[in-house]
């Protein structure tokens, strides 16, 4: 029998993986991928809570998260392409312009 806890634990594991990616990765594109993992982990948690509490609000939140993620990708990727054209790299450390 799969309970809500199973799903929440799974969502937490996926969120941890995404967080490790955000902390570890230095390439901006792969940082974006890690953000997608974070959003998806939260979506699973929302859908699971929605089912086990018999409440559709969780699913609604998931929809809006997906909408936000889609627009984030559109704008973020545009900025990333611009950055690559100007600097020839999408390394995170190339964003650091003030050398102290």
């Amino acid at each position: 029998m799969i309970t809500l806890t199973h799903y929440l634990v799974l969502a937490t594991i996926l969120f941890v993986i995404g967080l490790i990616g955000v902390i570890r990765r230095k390439n901006l594109l792969l940082l974006f991928f890690s953000t997608e993992i974070l959003l998806n982990a939260v979506n699973i948690a929302f859908a699971a809570i929605s089912k086990y509490y018999h409440d559709l609000t969780g699913q609604m939140f998931s929809f809006f998260i997906i909408a936000v993620a889609a627009s984030e990708v559109a704008v973020g990727l545009g900025l990333l392409v611009l950055w690559y054209k100007r600097n020839g790299t999408i390394d995170l450390e190339s964003l650091q312009e003030m050398k102290g």
Partner: protein, 194 residues
């Protein structure tokens, strides 16, 4: 049956996302992420959120991953991603530890009994068992304002994406390119004079 599906999908999703996070090749990362997205839609079907599962496949694997795939054509993805990392073992341990610690810090204050879930939208009680229909009714009544705001936001994002990438591919729109050209021309003049 549900348990088998859950554990299978869990193992596959976790494996795929680990590849995303730890792979050296950006192309492998992207493929693994697309696979992970599809597998996550399996969870949504398991959780009786049919509409969400379909949206997950269409929006994430159809739109978002396709956008990434097209975006990656701008970048040099064939060579391995080089990331300068000092002291790999210690930093690896610190990454994992700090990620878990962050989760604990964020999720600790939420005590389930203190969350007030007033007026729950019970799907079966209100709309019968048909998930897409129920989602439609809720989305266009209770969450109509948010839905419209999301639509406007997507439109803005689309225009921003087109403006940023699409038009005049060879020059930047966010910077005054004439100023840079002037500086370059001046530098040439100086060199010529020498």
């Amino acid at each position: 049956m549900e348990a088998i599906a859950f554990y299978l999908f869990s193992a596959l999703t976790i494996g795929m996302f680990l590849i995303v996070v730890f792979s050296k090749n950006a192309l492998y990362s992207m493929s693994a992420l697309a696979a992970g997205m599809i597998l996550i839609s399996g969870f949504f079907f398991l959780l009786d959120a049919d509409f969400l599962g379909v949206v997950q496949i269409i929006v994430y694997t159809g739109a978002v991953m396709a956008l990434y795939a097209f975006g990656m054509m701008f970048f040099d993805t064939t060579k391995d991603v080089k990331e300068k990392i000092d002291a790999p073992l210690i930093t690896n341990i610190l990454w994992v530890a700090s990620a878990i610690l962050l989760i604990c810090i964020i999720s600790a204050p939420f005590v389930p009994s203190l969350l007030n879930l007033d007026a729950p939208l019970n799907q079966t009680a209100l709309f019968g068992a048909n998930n897409p229909q129920a989602v439609g009714i809720v989305l266009f009544t209770k969450y109509l304002a948010q839905f419209e705001l999301a639509a406007v936001m997507l439109l803005v994002a689309m225009i921003a994406g087109i403006i940023l990438v699409g038009k005049k591919m060879d020059e930047s729109l966010t910077l005054d390119m004439n100023a840079e050209k002037k500086i370059e021309a001046e530098e040439f003049d100086i060199k010529d004079n020498k």
